[in-house]
Amino acid sequence: MNTPKYWRGIEELEQKPEFLATVKDEFPTDIPMDQQLSEVTEEKLGFKANRRDFLKLMGFGLTAATLSACVETPKKFAIPYVEKPDDIIPGVANYYATSTLEGISVIAKCREGRPIKLEGNPDSPVTQGGMDAIGQASILNLYDIDRYQAPMSGSTTAEWDAVDSEIAAKLKEIKNSGGKVRILSRSLLSPSLRSAAASFLAGFADAKHVTYDPISYSAIAEANEKSFGKKVIPSYHINKAKVLVGVGCDFLGTWLEPTSQSSQYAEMRDPAHSQMSRHYQIESMLSTTGSNADMRFPVKPSDTGKALISLYNAVARQLGKPTLPGGSFSLTMGGESMIANDLVKAQGASLVLCGINDPACQTITNGINDILGNMGKTIDLNTPVYYKQGSDSDMMELVGELNSVDALFFLDANPVYDTPFAGAFESAIKGMKLSVSLATKPDETSALCAYVAPDHNFLESWGDVMAVEGIYSVVQPTINPIYNTRQAGDSLLKWSGASTKFADLLKSNWQALHGQQADGSSFQEFWDKVLRKGIAMAKKAQPPVEGEETAPAAAATMDSAALSAAASQAQQTSASGYELVLYEKVGIRDGRYAGNPWLQELPDPITRTTWDNYITVPFQYAKENGVKQEDVLKLSVGGQEIEGAAVILPGQAMGTFGLALGYGRKNGGRTTKHVETIDAYPLLEMRDGNVAYSRAGVTVDKTGRTYPLACVQTFHTLFDPTKKTPRKPEGSIDNYFDRTEEIISEVESFEEYKKHPEAVNGHAGTALNKKHHLITLWESHYRDKAADRYIRWAMAIDLNKCTGCGACVVSCHAENNVSVVGKEEVRKRREMHWIRIDRYYSGAPENPNVVFQPMMCQHCDNAPCETVCPVLATIHSQEGLNQMAYNRCVGTRYCANNCPYKVRRFNWYNYVNGDDFQNVNPAHETNPLGRFVLNPDVTVRFRGVMEKCSFCVQRLQEGKLKAKIRAGSSLNPDGSAVKPEDGSIKTACQQSCPTGAIVFGDLNDPNSEVHKLYKENDRLYHVIEEVKTLPSVAYMTKIRNRTADQIKQIEERTEEVMFENEWLG
């Protein structure tokens, strides 16, 4: 048996005949004609169709259709404004700077007064213009038809006045009796909202604002308090770390604020620089971060603390510092000394990040960073971040006193769903004097509350964000409130009896910030600038003025007593049996946005599964116990039992299982009803006062049933796995090749690459000079010299920078009106994404190497799809685009069959009016609000037509037009074509990419970035170039930073596993 070097699922590795049979065809399901016309159907319908009936029906149908077509053409109206607002130009977008709830500064694109797309704010010093998948999808929450439309009193809608007076009366009563008032919120990034909450609470004798986070980061602040006396989460400077160690910390996918962390990470991973960071990851699940790491060590959760001690000791030994007790645990391949060697070499320029919510682990991490001299260099305790302010101890305290609380306000909080204390809250709320939810949308908690005072969506609100100390970003409304809602800040101010509006409070809070600006502007000027730019900096966050003295950051000193206490605690952790890891997924995260169909349909970067929660199973366990993908497993832990389908996850630590949080919402809106799946929050437990995201003592049984999952990992195969092309034997010059090596190009050693950059691939420099076939039927598909003066669009994607985060997929979804099709259709390989991120594994399945490859229409110059279209619906444009004219398409699907990249998507149904898509597709005609998100410049495709990536042609056209209008002509006086400036047009995927992996531009412009890459970059190659499609999308080889020794060890282990499993011939 021969297997490809790269594989996307165990199926491709094992090459079982039944699997191979399913991937043979582009479209797996036949049109069920036989079934429709069978005698069985006739029997079911109760009549037998004969020729005469058929003719009668046909005749009737034809006549009816003809008659119904004879109506007068319906009148259309053109209704202008009565008084047109000055700043709205119908047909031209407006842009407003604002910020998401996650604290990402964004630019909202509004058409005719409604926001349709969010993009990262390039002026933000934090995110540098990047966005993540949930940020991109958050615009859809504005148009969520399930939102509260008016205040609620119990389960009936009420008027604001009535609700306000009832709440005020009850508050007065509580105040007079000296009762307990509590506000429970998630981390509030808005200083103004926090001050509004404080001023509300100030009126009561016993009042407190409790902050929690569904995914708690409480241990980091606690450990920092113990170690350094500062209860904060510091700023991490990943872009200054030459050696980076992540411990159970998915900082590129879900941990803390992945957007800014990804962009910092990418800065250090550019092979064009003289140095590239080395990234080690120690984790239980295979996360996006782990899959980008140079070396990865799968470790059980109970061993993580011990691994940290071993790492500390290895570093301490090299530095001649005292070691900690314990440390007998050892990583595979002598990992701790390998890591320690590199860390010690990069003292002060290394960083160890730990994502375990356990103060002991965090303290040891602090210890490692401290002895390496990283404090104050890659970790800045003086510039804390406020993404997560939750405190587990505060939360525990609240839970303890719940029954004595008189009034509880839920401000952006849903503890009945997303904490382990659902039961406590549920019973306490029912008996409480006053319970008010300020949710925007019904959730598990608000359903129980006596009153709901619905908050605006963030796109309707005023507000501010300070996510990083000193860096402020504004929140301004981009649309009039859609429903009868009121901003949470206003509600709190109203109930506290203040007459000020929240917007005024906000402005007065910003007066202080204005005082710190050195430009001498008036407050109005400053405020106008802030609204335009979206960002303002406090004095200490501003770049220092030259000559001005800045006080050196006080070096924090580590408390050694705390360290040894932590070590002994971590050493004690022991676990028997299997362990369960409770983790976040990149799309769904903590479940707050589980009702967002874009996020549900976004395939998980690693498991490539949509819509469902499932139990991830290590490869080895699956093999030994005969567990197959989709087998239902029964998982028991501490008396709780859950059942879920198995997904075999290569790279998952042996002895562990994984289950995602954020699913199984009971009251999360119509989208969550589409697929009912497992809620993992009840499995969380408190360990030493902190929420623990793992459980030990797990038993697993097979149930013998299966459950269908919509997993896209083996769909859209670029290579033909049935061909069994053998891998090229060493030293052979025969034309043996493994097709997967024509798809993925990678180099394992950065040093080798730097020594011999030309050896990366044979494609260097050829991208610009595409060679033609000697004989061809389709001359016009090649580059036309006369067209050289015009634009030729091209794209280059850096595999080294792509972390697989999926922001581009959602961004494309929003920009191009891509339909959401739901689980059943995804299962039939009918998902509609124009861009997908293929995830390839290689090496041993117990700990594989991973490469992410964004794949979209390659806009081939010699496009196989174009030659087979019988109606010329897909043809080439002068600018090198592979155009798709929907109105011409008759749906033969020949093009999709002939596409070697498998990027064409067929509209099997009319997704905007099919009954099955009512709850999943926001653009469904029964959803009057969801349709608002559609981009008016892009057609919504109908049933029966093919669609695919257009390179965001609407943006290209808009950008070109802007340049031409500026020039007043399409030709310059010298006869050259007027072209948009390089970089002024960004495709949606490019714009949202937090790492800048995608470069797009005009290949005919010698000064464009993409031209330079095509001309000079030696990592450039085209996917399956040998089929001679001459694509306009190029990829850049992935370069890993491994030492020769590491490469050797990995290779040996791979070989071993391959022989063990008889995968090598």
Binding site: P80, V82, Q878, Q883, M884, V953, L961, K964, S970
Partner: protein
């Protein structure tokens, strides 16, 4: 032909008149630039040859000769002069009852130009009147013959004559045949025989095939032609909620299209003007020449304006005017006005026809894809308003690519 001769005459007259004025400063002014200024600032209330809301402007140069300074400040800021109690200004205000709005953005050069334009037009109209209307009846010379009823009378007469000839020939043939038969002593020709012969001729297989073929081919051609016209609404002229006349506003008053359809240079949409744009003029002009107050009242009903008091009604619930959309492109076709007007330098009339002559606007062009494509094939791309030296057409620049309009 007649029309251009008329223009030529005016031109020569104007030119010689101007020459005869010799030292007049007006010669240096740009009457063409003045026309633009006139249309954007003055045309809403003034005409050159007669009085409208404001007095007639023709002859203004002579009237205020030597008093230019006052005239300039009056044009620039009439309200100020009136309020300051300037006797001439107050007299004018009392005479006309309305106050001319201030035009502070007008430069001296603008006023020079507009005065030059007024002078030019005034002289031309005087000359034309002096010519005695001899040229006045020259219009309509290029009308389509198919539109003339005479054409159909002639056609009818022709058909009648041909029928008569056929009948005559038949009679002659019958007479001759009868004569020959009589000579050869055969049976005389009877009506039944003629009928029989005609019948056998009609039953001839060749004739049947030929007739069927003609009917089939003709029918098919007609059917194809007809079906190609489906969803083409050329000539569509729906009734609008307000009997707004482009002929009056754009034609007679010469208001630039862009004044109301201001989106045309910025956006894909040209925009139907919002009601507040109407109010720029109709706050003062409360009565129209044709429908009186009735139609203008509809604007006031929409925006909430009390013409009697001359002020907006507080707290009025505004209702948008629901214009019937005439030009409907299908959803899958993207069209951008700014592209064609600013970059392409096209006149509105190229696609919309002579709107300034339409009492009720109708769809002038087919708006079919073939019509778009034809223009893209033929239209030469302009380089800053001039034709490009290479003669590049829109097609040469990729203007026929699907994804230029369909995405």
């Amino acid at each position: 032909m007649l029309r251009s001769a008329h223009f030529l005459k005016i031109f020569i007259l104007t030119f010689s008149l101007m020459l005869s004025w010799g030292g007049s400063s007006l010669i240096a002014q740009d009457a063409a630039a003045g026309q633009k200024v006139f249309r954007s600032y003055c045309a809403a209330c003034h005409k050159i040859d007669r009085a409208m809301t404001g007095p007639q402007l023709g002859g203004i140069n002579e009237k205020y000769a030597g008093d230019e300074e006052w005239l300039y400040s009056w044009i620039r800021n009439a309200p100020e002069l009136i309020n300051a109690g300037d006797p001439k200004a107050v007299a004018l205000f009392e005479e006309w009852g309305t106050m001319m709005q201030a035009n502070p953005t007008m430069t001296d050069a603008d006023i020079d130009n507009v005065l030059a334009y007024i002078q030019q037009e005034w002289v031309a109209s005087q000359t034309a009147t002096a010519d005695g209307g001899a040229t006045g009846a020259g219009g309509g010379d290029q009308a389509n013959p198919l539109d003339q009823p005479q054409f159909y009378y002639a056609l009818f007469a022709l058909v009648a004559v041909l029928l008569l000839i056929t009948l005559l020939l038949l009679v002659i043939t019958a007479t001759l045949v009868s004569a020959v038969r009589a000579k050869e002593e055969q049976e005389p020709l009877r009506l039944s025989e003629i009928q029989k012969r005609t019948w056998s001729l009609l039953k001839n297989r060749f004739v049947i095939t030929a007739i069927s073929l003609i009917v089939l081919v003709g029918g098919l051609t007609k059917w194809v032609e007809w079906s190609r016209g489906i969803s083409i609404h050329q000539g569509y002229m729906p009734e609008q909620p307000i009997k707004y006349s482009h002929k009056l506003h754009a034609g007679e008053y010469g208001i630039e299209c862009e004044y109301c359809h201001s989106g045309v240079t910025k956006s894909k949409n040209a925009w139907i003007p919002s009601t507040n744009v109407c109010m720029n003029c109709h706050k003062l002009i409360q009565e129209g020449p044709k429908y009186g107050k009735e139609e203008i009242q509809k604007i006031y009903d929409a925006i909430g304006f009390d013409p009697a008091k001359g002020q907006y009604i507080e707290g009025y619930e505004q209702k948008a005017v629901e214009w019937v959309r005439i030009h409907n492109l299908p959803d899958h076709a993207y069209f951008n006005h700014a592209q064609h007007v600013v970059v392409g330098g096209l006149e509105c009339q190229t696609c919309h026809g002579e709107v300034q002559e339409m009492e009720v606007v109708y769809q002038y062009s087919t708006l079919s894809m073939g019509w778009c494509i034809n223009c893209h094939r033929e239209e030469k791309v302009k380089t800053l308003g001039k034709e490009n030296p290479e003669g590049l057409t829109v097609e040469d620049m990729g203007g026929l690519d699907c994804a230029r309009c369909h995405y």
